[in-house]
Structures are given as structure tokens and as C-alpha cells.
Amino acid sequence: MPFNILVAVSLLYVVVLFGVAFVAEQRARGGLAGWLRSPLVYTLSLSIYCTAWTFYGAVGYAARSGLEFLTIYLGPTLVFVGWWWVLRKLVRIGRAQRVTSIADLISSRYGKSNFLGVVVTLMAVLAATPYIALQLQSVTLSFAVFASDTPEGWALPDQGATALWLAAGLTLFTILFGTRNLDANERHHGIVMAIAVEAVVKLVALLAVGIFVVWGVAGGVSDILARIDASPIADWNLKPGRWAGLTFVSAAAILTLPRMFQVMVVENADERHVATASWAFPLYLMLMSLFVVPIAVVGLDIMPAGSNPDLFVLTIPLSAGAGKLALLAFLGGFSSATSMVIVAAIALATMVSNHIVTPLWLALRVGSARAPGDVRGIVLMSRRLSIGAVLALGYTYYHLSGGSAALAAIGLISFVGAAQVLPAMLGGIYWRGATHVGAAIGLITGFAIWLYCLFLPSFGSGGLISAGVMAEGPFGIGWLRPQALFGITGLDPLLHALFWSMLLNTSTFLIGSLASFPGPMERLQGVAFVNIFDQSSGPGGWTRSAAEAEDLLSMSQRILGAEEAQRFFQAQAAAQGKLGFLPDPTPDFVARLERQLAGSVGAATAHAMIAQLSGGATVSVQDLIAVAGEAQQIKEYSAQLEAKSDELARTARALREANDKLTELSVQKDAFLSQISHELRTPMTSIRAFSEILMEADLPDEMRTKYAGIIHDETRRLTRLLDDLLDLSVLENRRVQLNIGVANLHDLLSKAVTAASNTRPDRAFVVQRDAASEHMPVFTDTDRLLQVFINIVSNARKYCDAERAVLRVEVKKRGRNVEIDFIDNGSGIPKKSQALIFEKFARLTDTSHAGGAGLGLAICREIMANLGGSIDYLPGQGGAAFRVRLPLKRAS
């Protein structure tokens, strides 16, 4: 097969994957996620467990060690058929606490400790880097197989270049589809879909090769069984220790590998999918393993002695002249490698960015939660850079190790490293007594032993650990030899490391937990995790928050994005029975907000940011007692009470708000009566005085003209005021006649900006607009809408107190509405006045020279109500900000 065709097919395949991811992203965004979230897609996405190590390596493994390879798939099978024990709980916790990664799970459970997050992140990166290198190597090798097989005999292209191109392509793909949105709970539909497609490709490819081998090369099932018994594999030496140990390690790894946690917990859309996966994923694993032994047996039989059994999946079809089958097998291997790398990169990048980069960035900026700046942008950027860094690490490792044989063993070594998280994880979700200190000691101990006994020696003697240390121990201390701790020699090195690391990890974790005392936050989180099924929502932990809702909103906007944050705050305010964007900062609300933020930046960072705004408030012992007491109450009773008291509190809050408003309004009304009297009498005074002057005196003509002019102007001023009053009264009674027409929103805004420039024409005033977003037709009473726009822009010209006044106009389509935001850079409107500005005659400053009688915004509000839209004050934008919402089509 010509090499160019192979390259062309691979590129075509990559293009198809891009297409699949792109279409899935589009559909999900259009709200058509439906089948994207099916249990089938979930199960297929789990197949990233089967990497190139499985696809190519399992056959080699079987050729060398008989059936032992099955343990790698039997362990996960037991975990999945036993889903009711661990998986169900993990997924529920992951969803309830909006966990973003395995490091976040551990950090969140142990009191939102970022230290633990950092430890787990570092372990994960170290364990995964060689594994990523292994994937790059397998793809490079499979290219080489085709190259060496060509009759034309062209030279093998530089292998390093192949790996480099592959790493670069994967980085691009992962960044494109993996960092579109920040919230880990907004799932990566594109990537999951692409992985599901790859899962199908690799299964079909391996099954095809298997069927070809059993019925094409050999003579069917019975022939294969006979061949198995006749082959050298039949003499495999079953080591009971390895059989049990490897089953355990693979069972642990499927729970703790960062990439598995990503697809299993973080990307999970529905808990019921776990139920389906409980049988479907073992089935997938079984099908992937079904033909491994036959392929190995036939390969050993027909391939020339000394050929690499790791590549039988490719070389058997090639030697049998089945080029297309070999190509399919190649794509299967390619899929296995790429899907693993993509998900691993996302998972690791999330961890690195949430636990290392973002906290560092926040720590370097004092008072950061309040400081201006787009945290969301920083987090996204750090995530992108982390993806690049993870892949660069993998490539560098591949490059330095030169594709050595040491890589072949790295799969299991990586598993043992990942498994070190298991005690802290299981302890955390089943035992309330597990503490932060215990988890830290256990993790570090297990990790250190793994590093010393397994990871470093894997580079070969004379690699990172000198042959002297391997044979004599460090400084000649014999009982510290990396592969014979405590002087026990003759153990299988992998089992040796597994035994000691897990044993010491677990025991130090237990002893550390028993001996230490958890902090309040830790105990709260402990209850929330262990008793996840007994509560509808986790305990809050924020009491008497000192945070201002407006501060919280402006912080959240920088993390969640403006729209998302505003939607969340509005919904929460509505739940409290309040209008607008600012809910009361009740403990419940703050806890909910924290969980929302945790979905983006991880629990520890979210907690730290909120703590900053709440004046560093921490959980008190009373809060703990409250939580413990709650748990003992009869659930239904307390739920009823809660519902009732919630409702009472809501009603009370609504009443209080209404009452405040009434009192405020009554004061306003008195003030208005004086105001209206003043506004009417002032022009009348001039009119009366000058008309008397005109009546009696023999004035020079020019004075007569001047005074008549004053009378004329003052009469017009009176008329305008009366017009406004009448207009308002008509609008309020909804008796207004609307002239529905169509206009371009852009033109309307331009007209408004021009018309408003009469107001304080002396002042330099910049209006920032985005013409592209403004071009859209609006079907409404365009004169009325224009009146609203002019009023808002004039107000900004009048009241914006910035040195260089800038008004930003933003237009966004949202569902069936269009939202037009007018945001200036002045000092905004104080919170206590925000509720009043839309009331009649509520002029905030007393400068009568500001113009009208304070009816402008009241009229605007009535106009928008008549047009089926609304106008609101948008707090937390830095300056005064108004949002005009208008239906795109007026409902009749």
C-alpha cells in the first residue's frame, strides 16, 4: 500500500472527526442535544479505557504472558457490574458538587484544600505523561509498519516528525473542542461524540481482524481452540499474585485515572446512563478482548520468528495481502491512541489550570476577587496553555526516551500510580472520619513509594536510578533497595511496588485520619459526600454573609460570563420572590453560587474567591451543630417545615419590599406634588410678569420682541410638561395607540445618538457600538422605541460623571427577544436608588437644570411595557447600565 494513500486516509479520517465534533457542538448549542446524551454515547465514550496499549499491546501481552492480559479488563468489569457500590455514588457526588476533575473531588472532599488538589494534579501529570508518549509511539510505529512493507522501498520518514505532527494536531483539536466553554458541567459534546465514533471504529477494526484471523486464516472456532492448546501460549505461567494484583490495579485505575474520571463523572449527563454502562461497558471490553488470543496464536504460528507480536494486528492482514483490512486496523489503532490523548489532555489541563495556574494567578494579585479583569479569560487561556503543555510533555518524553522498550511496560506502571488516589477517594466517600492530614500523608507516601520503586527504576538500570543503588540500596542501606524494600527479595517488581505503596498509603491515610482533627469545612464536606443520598442538597456553610450581592454579581460575571451570571442571579432572585438581578445574599444563595463557580474553577478556588468577598467568613461550630441536628430530624417533617418557612420567608420578603416601596413612594408623591407645583408655577411666573410689562409700558420694539419671545418659550415649556404627564397617564392605562412598523435597529440607535447630542452638546462623549450586531429588523412602534433610546442616551450625556464619558451599546439576540444594553463608565446609580429611578418624578439629584421633571425613565418603562418588552437597571457593570429588552416579533 502506498504510503501517500495511508497518509491521505488518515487525514481524511481526521477531517471526518472534526466534522463530527463540529456538528455535535452545533446541535448541542441549538438545543438539539437529544441523542448526543444517550446512554450509548456515554458507554462508548468510556471506551477511552482501551488505548493503543489495548489495541496493539493486548495481543503482544497475550503472546508473552498468556491470559494474564485479561485481568486488565476483568477489573473494570467488576467495578461496572458493581456500579451500585461506588460508581453511582461518585457520579451523584460529582453532579451535586459540580466536580471538575479527580483532583477537584479530593480537594473538595477534604475541606476544599488546594494543597491536596496540587498533590493529585502533580501525580496525575507525572503518571500520564509516559502514557501519552506511549500513544504517540504506537501511532508512529504503525506508520512504520506500512512503510517497511512497501515494495517500492521508500525510506521511512522521520519518526520524530510523525509524532510531532500528531501531537500538534491533537493539541489543536483538543483546544478547539475542549475549551469552548468553561463550566465543566456544560459538557464537551463535540469531543464526546468524536470519541464515541472512534470507539466504534476501533471495535469494528479489532473484530474485523479477529474474524479474518479465525475464519480466514484459521479454520473456524474449533480449529482456533486446538491451535491455542498447541501454541506456546498454552504453556503460559499463571502467577496467582499477578492475576489478583493486576485485577485489583485495573479496577482501581478505572476509578482513579484522570481521563476515566473525566468521561465517567464529569461528562455524565444523566445518572441512569451509569445503569446502562454497567452491562454495556463490560460487553464492549469483552468484545475488544474476544479475538486477542486467536490473533496472538495465529500470529505466532504464521509470522516469521522474531517479529514483534505487539504489531500482529497490523502485520497479519498485511502479510496475508488484505491491505484494506490492515488500513482499517491502522485506523482502529489511530482512534485508540488519539481518543485517549484528547481526553487525558482535557482532564489534566483542567486540573493544572484549576489547581495550579488559577490559584497562583489569584495569589499574585492582592484583593483579586474584587479587582477588575476577566478571570474567565485567564482560566480559559491557562486551560489552553495547559493542554499544549501536557502534549508537549508527552512528546518530549517520547523524544527523550527515543521510543525505547521501557515504554511498553508503562501502561501498568501508570495504573499503579493512578491507583494511589484510591484510598483517599474511597475513604472520602464512605468514611466521615477521613481527614485532610490523613489524605495528604497517604497520597504522598504512596506516591513516593511508587516513584522510587516502580517509576524511576522503569528507565532501566543506569537510568535515573544508578545500578549501584538498585543492587545495594541508597548509601549502601540494603533494606532500602528499590525493588526489595525491607530486605524482602525475589518479588515481582510491579507487585512489590503495588503491595508496599498501597499498604503504606492506606495505613498512613488511616492512621493520619484517626490521629488528626478535621476543620469545620472538612466535616461539612465529609457529611455532604458520605451522606450524599440522604440529602437533596449539600450543606451550605456560609452564614451571615457579609458579601454584597452586587459584588458577588460582578465577580461571577468575570468567571461565568456576563449572560450566564445574570441569568443565574435573576433566577435566584426570583426564587427569593424578588425582582431584578440582586438576590439577598442568604447562606443558601451563596452556597449555591459557590457550587456554580466551582463548576468552572474548581471547589477550592471558588471557595477562596467567595471567602474574599465575604470578609473571610468561615464555618463556625454552631453551623456544624445545625447540620448535625438537621440530619436527625425526621426528613419529611423538616422538609414540610422548610417548605413552609421558605414560603413564609419569601412572602415576608416580598411584603417587606412592597412596604418599603410604598413608604418610599409616599414620600416621593409629596415631593412630586411640590415638584409639579414648582414646575408649573415657574414658567407661569415669567409669563405673567412679562405679559403685565407688555400690557402697560411703551417699550422699545426690540425689548417687546424679546419679552414676547420669553413668553413664547415658557408657554412651550409648560406644554411639554403637560404633554409628558398626559403621555404617562395614557401609557399607564395601556390605552396607547401603537403604530407598529418595521425598522432597522441600527438606524434607530443612530438616530437616537444624533438626537441626544442636543443634550449638553458642549461635552465630549464617545458612543461605542458594534454595527454588525445591530443590523436586525424590529417590528414595533419605532417612534416610541426611538423615544426610549433618546431618553437613555440623553441621560448618559447628562449624568455620566466620568472624565472621558464613554457609552457602550451592546445588542444581543436572546431567544425571541433582543436585548440592548447601554453601559456608561460613570459611577453608576447607588443601590438604594436603583429601585426608584423608574418611578415618576424620581430625579436623583436636585439639579433642576438637568432638564425635564423626572418623568423620562417612568415614561420609558411604560413604553417598553406597552411594546411587550422591558427596561431594567443592570447592576454591577461598573457604570450606570440599562437593559432594554424587546420581543423580535410583537405578539398580537
Binding site: R681, T685, R688, I693
Partner: protein, 125 residues
């Protein structure tokens, strides 16, 4: 009334122009200020015979200015005519409490204004 000096504090330019015209026709010298800021200093240097003071000024209330000048010994006896556009009973009482010598609601007849100023100028001087 000829030769008398009157200070007028009024923010509405048209009303100020009308009052100035009516009074200066009678030979009165009128000094006008559109705001309450610096009113006290103006009064201390100008030594007017009568002060005509608007109740609602943009920066501060006329009542405030009145209370302040009554506290200055040199100005304690200055006759003050208070003008208001609100014309409520409350305002009249408040003005009298603060020490206004006379009170006139807007809009007023030119003759009433002249009569009030004349009365105050005579009584005060």
C-alpha cells in the same frame, strides 16, 4: 424708592430678568445672583436695603441662606422678601419661622412685588 439697592437671588433666568426690569424701572439698583453659593459674602459687601430670595435654588435651599444670614449680626435686621413657586401653606410658615420679613407666591402681580419691596425698603431704612 429711587437710589435703593436690592440683591436678588433667583435661579430662573427669565424670572430674574422680569424682576430686575420691574424694579430698575422704579430707579432701584439690582444686583443679581443665580445661585446660593457665596450669597452671604455678597450681602456683606453689597449692603443692600432689601434681599429678594427664591426658596428653591439648585444648590441649597433659600431657607438655609435665610437662617445663616440671620445669625450674622450685621445682617440680622436685613428685610427679606421670600419668593416661592410651590405656594403651599407649609412653605409660608417655614419662611416666617426662618425670619422672612415678607412672602410672595409665584406667579405674582408686578404691582404686588413692587408694593412688597417698597414696604420693606421703607421700613428697613
Amino acid at each position: 424708592m429711587r437710589g435703593k439697592h436690592i440683591v436678588l437671588i433667583e435661579d430662573e433666568p427669565n424670572i430674574a430678568e422680569a424682576i430686575s426690569f420691574i424694579l430698575s424701572r422704579e430707579g432701584v439698583r439690582v444686583t443679581h445672583s443665580a445661585s446660593g453659593a457665596g450669597a452671604l459674602a455678597l450681602l456683606q459687601t453689597a449692603h443692600p436695603d432689601v434681599l429678594v430670595l427664591d426658596l428653591m435654588l439648585p444648590d441649597r435651599s433659600g431657607l438655609e441662606i435665610l437662617a445663616e444670614l440671620r445669625a450674622v449680626p450685621a445682617l440680622a435686621a436685613l428685610p427679606v422678601l421670600m419668593l416661592t413657586a410651590r405656594g403651599q401653606h407649609r412653605d409660608r410658615e417655614a419662611a416666617e419661622r426662618a425670619g422672612a420679613s415678607a412672602f410672595l407666591a409665584k406667579p405674582f402681580a408686578n404691582a404686588d412685588l413692587l408694593a412688597a419691596v417698597r414696604g420693606l425698603a421703607r421700613g428697613g431704612a
